[in-house]
């Protein structure tokens, strides 16, 4: 024991010797200098009033709302994506010349050196499978498949010559929503919630609603890529539980759950203070969000309380999964401050290979189910003043050929068209966008854009512009370099901006 005491005493003495005057002079001068420099630098800006740091709340809540760098025109986005690529030639891009070529062989000059998803050899041309009329005060063309849309045609700006370099669904969808045809990039909605946060504490900032099926590229379309995972889209089901695993388990009261989550979060926060990993914060806020969502999501996802005539206007199908329900939900969510609502409606891949894929059958059913809800959505947003600060985008991942698809060289038994990336139609409506306007045009048969061509990156740049971002400045550092949604391309389509 004595030995031990002696050893301890020796150790103390040894340590004390280290803390000598010399040690102070040698080791601490740098520190003292630093302190002096620090106060010196501080004193340079003594009379500056400290501005409020709006981003401070982000440290605890990664979804806290942030102002955009430039003046925004809109606060929210509703993106209506028709999965499978609807035929522009049967909806908006009126080509009377194409009718004259109907069922005649396609000129070799058109297909030489071209690659198609299914067309082989020489296909026949396929005239428009619709009748067109000028609609609204703007007199823009709308086909007979969209009778309700004619009521809102004066609200939208058409982009008639959009082009993409992908001709398969998955990659084209990825390009449309992440800016790259390959996996791994954050989606449009993730970028936007990362940049702007979300206003409603009790609802996710980026909601995804699907109807008809899951898009080909899967959940990467609303993935967060390399952004913190809090920014990924929350996929809500419009049938049954809106979000899975949100209900309290049997025998667990809400109070008990609250306590459990609190304890877990306290442990997690200690973890965060130690390692500063943003993913821990994500986890904390997701637990809290899930707890709050238990009450607020069923409320916002419940369309039963809507007046009967509103439900009729949209053509909702209570208790079922439908595009109409999703459109009504989109309005309800935007009204409650959700930043980005993404709708995917599956089933627009009209090859003519089966009845559901035929322009003469399945396509018409899709048009009927899409037409009324979209028109209703625009009108409903408009009457509530929501269209003033919401952007509505409609489109597919590409367009369809003016040729009748001949899979494996034999003309399909039913009427259908193959994939076409060279030219297709999209439209935008809402704050900051011209009303009743057309930008771009295709050639006589709708095969190529001849003026006002815009790329997928142009569309993304324009969406970001309307939300108050310069798409070239809006970056996230990853793997040693800054990344952008629009990669190294993209031009804001000023022509359609009001």
């Amino acid at each position: 024991m004595d030995n031990l005491k002696r050893l301890l005493a020796e150790n103390k003495e040894f340590e004390a010797r280290l803390n000598s005057r010399r040690h102070f002079l040698k080791d601490c001068t740098l520190g003292l200098g630093g302190i002096a420099l620090g106060s010196l630098l501080n004193s340079c800006s003594f009379d500056q009033k400290k501005a409020y740091d709006y981003s401070a709340s982000r440290a605890l809540n990664p979804m806290a709302p942030l102002a955009p760098p430039l003046s925004p025109k809109v606060k929210s986005v509703i993106y209506l994506h028709m999965v499978g690529a609807p035929s522009q030639l049967e909806l908006f891009d009126y080509k009377p010349e194409l009718a004259k070529l109907h069922n005649k062989p396609c000129p070799a000059s058109l297909i030489e050196g071209k690659e198609f998803a299914f067309i082989e050899g020489v296909p026949n041309m396929l005239g428009p499978q619709a009748t067109f009329k000028k609609a609204g005060d703007s007199g823009n063309w709308v086909s007979n498949h969209l009778p309700h849309f004619k009521n809102v045609v004066d609200e939208v700006s058409f982009l008639k010559a959009v082009h993409t370099d992908q001709f398969n669904h998955g990659p084209a969808q990825l390009l449309m929503f992440t800016g790259s045809a390959r996996f791994g990039r954050p989606s449009l909605g993730s970028w936007i919630t990362y940049g702007l946060g979300s206003e409603n504490n009790n609802l996710p900032g980026f909601v995804v609603l699907t109807s008809g099926g899951t898009p080909d590229a899967g959940k990467s379309l609303w993935g967060n890529g390399f952004l913190p995972s809090i920014y990924q889209g929350v996929h809500c089901r419009s049938k049954g539980d809106p979000v899975l695993y949100l209900k309290d388990p049997k025998g667990i009261s809400r109070d008990l759950k609250r306590k459990v989550i609190q304890s877990i979060n306290e442990i997690n926060y200690k973890e965060f203070q130690k390692f500063k990993d943003p993913e821990v914060l994500t986890r904390i806020s997701q637990y809290e969000m899930a707890y709050r969502m238990q009450v607020s999501v069923p409320e916002v996802m419940n369309i039963d309380d809507e007046p009967e005539y509103i439900k009729e206007m949209y053509g909702v199908k209570p208790g079922k999964e439908s595009f109409a329900n999703n459109c009504l939900l989109a309005r309800k969510m935007v009204e409650k401050g959700v930043r980005f609502v993404q709708l995917y409606d599956w089933g627009w891949d009209s090859h003519g290979a089966s009845e559901s894929e035929a322009l003469s059958k399945g396509f018409l059913n899709k048009c009927r189910d899409m037409d009324r809800p979209v028109a209703a959505l625009l009108l409903d947003l408009k009457q509530r003043g929501l269209l003033e600060d919401t952007l509505v985008v409609w489109g597919g991942e590409f367009g369809r050929t003016p040729m009748w698809e001949n899979r494996a060289g034999i003309q399909n038994s039913l009427i259908g068209r193959d994939h076409q990336g060279e030219a297709f139609t999209m439209w935008m409506a809402g704050g900051g966008v011209k009303k009743g306007y057309v930008h771009g045009a295709t050639d006589e048969i709708g095969f190529r854009g001849v003026s006002g061509r815009v790329s997928v990156h142009d569309i993304q740049a324009t969406i970001l512009h309307l939300l108050g971002f310069d798409h070239e400045q809006f970056t996230f550092d990853f793997q040693g370099r800054p990344f952008r949604l629009t990669d190294v391309e993209g031009r804001v389509i000023h022509e359609i901006l009001s």
Partner: protein, 461 residues
């Protein structure tokens, strides 16, 4: 050798400060020489160094003139005055030594002469490096803010309507050149022997000949240099200067490709719209007024945020604020008093889904700069809405889904700046309760849209 001389020449701006400092020191000593015993000796010593450093300054200055493309006219006054300063210094040094003819001159001749010549020489030198209006520029800005003279906002006078009639050179190329090129390529400073301040001078080219190659536009010196990577020595404008924007590079390239014409108008050339787009002046109507306001009180914002109220500037770095009570459904009219610290800055307020009642209208008049008010999904009936006419900037008013009475709406037409009012009610047709005037009809959006049922709605194909 050339680059060595350039190197030496670049020391000129550094070197000149030595004689300036020495002379000023000498003058200080000169004017209080009675206080010091050895003043004369020290003065002589300083003046010797004035002469030495002065010689170096003039030499480096001369090299710089030779190497960096300054015109003789630009620097001649500066050069001569520099020489005079040197001669005066030598004279003063000799005077101090005594015993020459110079001693018959009054002592003040040298000291005052030196003071005058060093100030003027220095000023002229400054003008050469920083530009002639360098000193007076801030004064101009000062006077324009004091006198309320507006600065010219758009150097391109192009807009949607007139751009086709404007000559390409004077309309758009010249403004770009004068912004990004002319400061080094003009009559005073002619780097590389090139002047770009007029079309004729531009056509002449630089010391290596014309900079536009009409046969092979893409090999034009100008074309090549603006496209070189920034790191390249020959890249123009030089790395340290303000760069051409992407849109400017595209437009300049286009101009060179079509043969760098002067008189042809943009319409005649048939320029593509997207090339010219970034240069068009758009009369953008600003939704929020441009107000010079102090930063809002940070304490107020902190308190509001702790209560779940969202306070956010309209855009980053702006002092105009928006406020939303979306996450604070219990927010009541009394709590508007907590907003005293951001009273001026508040331009948009969203009290939708909150617990405010009709007393909100009077309470809101305390915020003079409100442009937008949202009172959707609240209990308001519209009683007292007339007091909002005090808000001079109020443009948009949202009162959707509440207990609004149509009879209260008529006072809206007296609001000075009102543009749009949304009053849609899903449970009743409010329009039937309002005595509509044409003015009211143009402002108020009643909604109540319906989509009539069509036979095709139920067809299953």
């Amino acid at each position: 050798m050339d680059s060595f001389l350039t190197f030496i020449g670049r020391f000129h701006p550094l070197m000149v400060h030595l004689p300036i400092g020495f002379i000023l020191l000498a003058l200080l000593l000169e004017f209080s020489r009675n206080k010091f015993k050895e003043a004369e000796k020290v003065l002589r010593f300083i003046m010797l160094w004035v002469i030495i450093s002065g010689l170096f300054s003039i030499a480096t200055g001369y090299f710089q003139y030779l190497q960096e493309g300054y015109l003789w006219e630009t620097i001649q006054a500066h050069f001569y005055l520099g020489l005079i300063t040197l001669l005066l210094s030598i004279g003063f040094y000799v005077f101090l030594k005594g015993g020459t003819i110079l001693n018959q001159l009054p002592r003040l001749f040298f000291s005052l002469g030196l003071l005058l010549s060093i100030v003027i020489t220095g000023h002229l030198g400054g003008n050469i490096t920083h530009g002639e209006d360098h000193l007076t520029e801030p004064l101009k800005e000062l006077s324009s803010t004091v006198l309320g003279i507006e600065k010219e906002e758009n150097e391109f006078s192009l807009n949607e309507k007139n751009y086709r009639e404007k000559p390409i050179y004077s309309g758009i190329i010249a403004p770009i050149l004068s912004k990004k090129c002319v400061s080094c390529h003009n009559t005073k400073r002619t780097k590389g022997g090139l002047q770009m301040h007029t079309y004729a001078a531009f056509q002449k080219g630089g010391k290596n000949g014309p900079i536009v190659n009409y046969d092979n536009p893409e090999l034009s010196e100008l074309f090549v240099r603006i496209h070189l990577p920034l790191e390249q020595k020959k890249h123009m404008p030089p790395k340290s200067k303000k760069q051409l924007t992407k849109a400017e590079i595209k437009l300049m390239s286009y101009w060179i490709e079509v043969g760098a014409p002067e008189q042809q108008t943009l319409g005649q050339i048939g320029i593509e719209r997207n090339l010219i787009e970034p240069f068009l002046f758009k009369e953008e109507e600003r939704f929020y007024p441009e107000l010079e306001l102090d930063a809002p009180d940070p304490e107020t914002i902190k308190i509001l945020e702790s209560k779940g109220i969202i306070v956010s500037p309209v855009k980053r770095e702006s002092n105009l604020l928006t406020l939303s009570t979306l996450n604070a459904p219990k927010f009541s009219v009394q709590q508007l008093q907590n907003l005293e610290g951001i009273k001026e800055q508040l331009v948009s307020i969203d009290l939708s889904y909150s617990s405010v009642n009709d007393s909100v209208f009077i309470a809101l008049t305390k915020f003079p700069n409100l442009v937008q008010i949202k009172l959707n999904h609240t209990e308001i009936t519209g009683y007292g809405i007339g007091s909002l006419s005090k808000l001079k900037n109020l443009k948009k008013l949202y009162m959707v889904e509440n207990a609004l009475k149509g009879s209260e709406l008529s006072s809206i037409q007296k609001f000075p700046s009102i543009e749009q009012v949304f009053v849609f009610q899903s449970n009743r047709n409010l329009i039937e309760e309002v005595e509509l005037t044409p003015r009211l009809q143009s402002i108020i959006e009643f909604g109540d849209f319906i989509l009539p049922k069509l036979p095709t709605d139920d067809v299953v194909y």
